[in-house]
């Protein structure tokens, strides 16, 4: 699931999912009810015939998620999956990732939302300037660095300037 929801916007959500199902060689008989169920659960059923050109970013993100789950993959790669999602959909996705992981599937997720990562991830890799600066479970990192949250750990490892200082400078620059 890519970060940017680049889709063929002249297709409807349902048509796009049908196309992906066929490309993944899922039989139509199996794909149709699965697509219908996905659309209902993601709150897109009433818009299933609407062309995706008029979908919001969040709706497109949901279509991407459905397309990624359609063939019941063992490995799921999610690039910024929460971007553009409304609060309830983001909560659903958070639970979904946990459930899939509990089922034994591998979920590789890339995100800038530390709070979400902290709640969902079993193992965290922090990259800074192309190098891995941390690779461990959240709990172990917390105890190792004696810091209360992943956000503080990230700030310590990968942020050169204090974010509060930068924010204050920005406000100053606005007024100048």
């Amino acid at each position: 699931m890519p970060e940017e929801p680049h889709l063929y916007t002249y297709l409807s959500g349902e048509e796009y999912l049908e196309m992906i199902a066929l490309l993944r060689e899922i039989a139509s008989e199996a794909a149709a009810p699965r697509i219908d169920r996905f659309l209902r659960l993601l709150g897109l059923h009433s818009d299933r015939f609407t062309l995706m050109s008029s979908y919001s970013k969040g709706m497109r993100q949901k279509i991407l998620l459905a397309a990624a789950l359609l063939h019941d993959p063992k490995l799921l790669i999610l690039d910024e999956p929460f971007s553009g999602l409304d609060v309830s959909s983001a909560l659903i996705l958070r639970r979904l990732i946990t459930l899939l992981a509990a089922e034994g599937k591998t979920v590789l997720m890339n995100s800038h939302e530390m709070e979400t990562v902290e709640k969902v991830a079993q193992r965290v890799v922090i990259l800074y300037k192309g190098k891995v600066v941390a690779d461990d479970s959240v709990e172990h990192l917390r105890s190792l660095m004696s810091l209360p949250s992943l956000e503080r750990i990230f700030t310590q490892l990968a942020v050169e300037k204090d974010p509060s200082e930068v924010a204050a400078e920005l406000v100053e620059a606005m007024r100048a």
Binding site: R24, T50, L51
Partner: protein, 566 residues
């Protein structure tokens, strides 16, 4: 002129932006570069106009100076053809620029937040529209605007030449202005009156209707030489005659058309212009509000008939799921993407209009009197099928939403075979089989069962051979390749394709006419395209290396390690 802080004129920038919205630059020149687009577009239209001007000069040389009446008839005929051509190109230019005449949601959202006066936006848009019209009119009349009036009045002195030049300039401008402003007025009126979603649906049909209507009009319009003998109450309904009449009246001399045509020729652009002006000045804000506030959501709800057809095709032709996915992807792209739909409509409209003209000629020649099929009539379905297949094949190469083709990249398995199969089957389904077999009952009535079936089979086999030629080395997913048509040298290839197409259709239909005369001829007639088709298919199978789908010109990307070790 209004200037922004950096000193760049706002008006100029806005006008350029709106001009780019009118012309599909990527289609004509590589990278969509504005200067290249203007040069290539004008060169294409100008070259065509130059060839026509040469024809006028050649024809003039054939008419001796003493034959003034013959000259008048010849000039009326030529003027009639050129007026129809100007109408055709202006209507096409208007249809291609359809979405750029009025603001869309994107304009409202991006330009609306900038500190720009609405009147400045309106002025810049009107300027861009007028500039676009001027470029189209100039390119399509560059050489003939001199050749026709000068050649026609050369023997009558300088004053008459100048008068004819002025008359022709007025007539051509009036022609283009009528067609162009009428399109804008109608479009603006619909946009102001209808809900935005309904307008979008209707405007697509209207656009296609204009394209088809102009081509039919161009091929079927009677020449203005007939205006001399046609009663006025019938003649006044033939629009191109108004402008020929305007030219003829200003030019004066013997054989001028009745003055009523000139009056209509002046009234039409005035009315169309006023209509467009009223829409722009009076309804612009209302249109802007409609665009901003209303949803433009299109729907893809399956009509029962379409759904049934889809099911039949899925069962009969598209059993492989990947072939099915690509087939319906092609169908939806061609019918829903505005640019592709327009280009296909142009291709089909040329075919239909050409076929209509041939049919009209055949009817004029009394085709029902003989049971023997003539080459003119035999060529009709061939021309139509060829134009449809060539048009669709050209569309396959034009990219759509390239960034979205990752969907195909990550699901690729089993190589290119299924994709190629879908692309070929689509051409069979929409172009060759319906054109070849749907008119079977008509052929049956005209020529009897055997000849009718042989003719349809011949068309099918010829279509198969044509497909093999056109789909040679096609290992791509349609519309997903970044090979833009602008990269081809259109100025050269267009002329080559047009000449090859015209000659081939004529040659094959003459050949078929001879073959349909006897049983042995029919056998040879069917064997010949079968042999060509078979030979090409065998050659393809021997050369073919199924491999992966080719997505663009850059080849397969190299694998690069990220070196993420700490």
């Amino acid at each position: 002129m209004t200037r922004i802080a950096g000193g760049t004129p706002r008006f100029g920038r806005l006008a350029r932006h709106f001009l780019m919205r009118l012309a599909d630059f990527e289609l004509v020149a590589p990278g969509g570069e504005a200067h290249q687009t203007a040069v290539t577009g004008m060169a294409l239209l100008g070259a065509l106009n130059f060839i026509i001007a040469l024809g006028l000069v050649w024809r003039e040389a054939l008419v001796p100076p003493a034959f003034e009446q013959v000259r008048t008839v010849v000039i009326l005929g030529d003027a009639s053809f050129l007026v129809a051509l100007t109408m055709l190109f202006t209507a096409l230019a208007g249809s291609l620029a359809w979405d750029g005449f009025f603001p869309n949601k994107q304009d409202a959202m991006t330009l609306g937040c900038l500190p720009l006066r609405p009147s400045l936006l309106l002025q810049a848009r009107v300027f861009a529209v007028l500039l676009y019209l001027a470029v189209v009119v100039l390119s399509t009349n560059l050489f003939t605007a001199l050749a026709l009036p000068v050649l026609g009045s050369l023997h009558n002195g300088l004053f008459e030449v100048l008068r004819a030049l002025f008359g022709w300039g007025v007539a051509v401008t009036a022609t283009a202005a009528t067609v162009f402003f009428a399109q804008i007025a109608v479009q603006g009126l619909l946009l102001a009156m209808l809900p935005y979603a309904a307008y979008r649906r209707l405007s697509a049909f209207l656009q296609l209707g204009i394209v088809l209507g102009t081509f039919l009009g161009f091929f079927l319009m009677p020449s203005a030489t007939q205006a001399l003998t046609t009663p006025l109450d019938r003649g006044v309904w033939i629009v191109p005659w108004w402008f020929v009449g305007l030219f003829s009246t200003i030019r004066g001399g013997a054989g001028a058309l009745p003055g009523i045509y000139a009056v209509l020729g002046l009234a039409a652009p005035a009315l169309a212009g006023l209509g467009a002006l009223f829409i722009y000045s009076g309804q612009y804000r209302r249109i802007l509000r409609n665009v901003c506030e209303q949803s433009e959501a299109g729907t893809a709800r399956n009509a029962p008939l379409r759904h049934a057809l889809e099911r039949v095709l899925n069962l009969v032709l598209l059993r492989n799921p990947r072939t099915r996915a690509v087939f319906w992807f092609i169908a939806r792209t061609v019918t829903r993407n505005r640019r592709h739909r327009m280009l296909l409509a142009i291709s089909a409209a040329i075919g239909i209009a050409w076929a209509g003209q041939t049919l009209a000629q055949s009817i004029g020649a009394g085709w029902t009197a003989s049971k023997q099929p003539g080459s003119t009539l035999l060529a009709v379905p061939l021309e139509l099928a060829c134009l449809l297949v060539i048009g669709l094949r050209a569309l396959y190469g034009m990219p759509v939403d390239l960034q979205a083709n990752w969907s195909f990249r990550i699901t690729e398995r089993g190589g290119v075979a299924a994709v190629r199969q879908a692309a070929v089957r689509f051409l069979w389904t929409v172009a060759i089989l319906p054109v070849a077999w749907l008119p079977l009952p008509v052929y049956w009535l005209l020529w009897g069962g055997t000849r009718a079936v042989v003719h349809c089979t011949f068309l099918t086999l010829t279509g198969g051979a044509l497909l093999e030629i056109l789909m040679r080395n096609f290992y791509k997913l349609p519309f997903a390749c970044s090979i833009l048509p602008g990269k081809h040298n259109l100025r050269v290839t267009f002329a080559v394709y047009a000449a090859t197409f015209t000659f081939s259709c004529w040659f094959v239909s003459v050949l078929e006419q001879d073959m349909l005369k006897s049983a042995s001829g029919m056998a040879v007639g069917l064997a010949l395209p079968s042999a060509v088709w078979l030979a090409m298919a065998v050659k393809r199978h021997m050369q073919e290396q199924p491999g992966r789908i080719r997505f663009d010109e850059t080849g397969q990307p190299e694998l690069e390690l990220l070196q993420l070790q700490g």
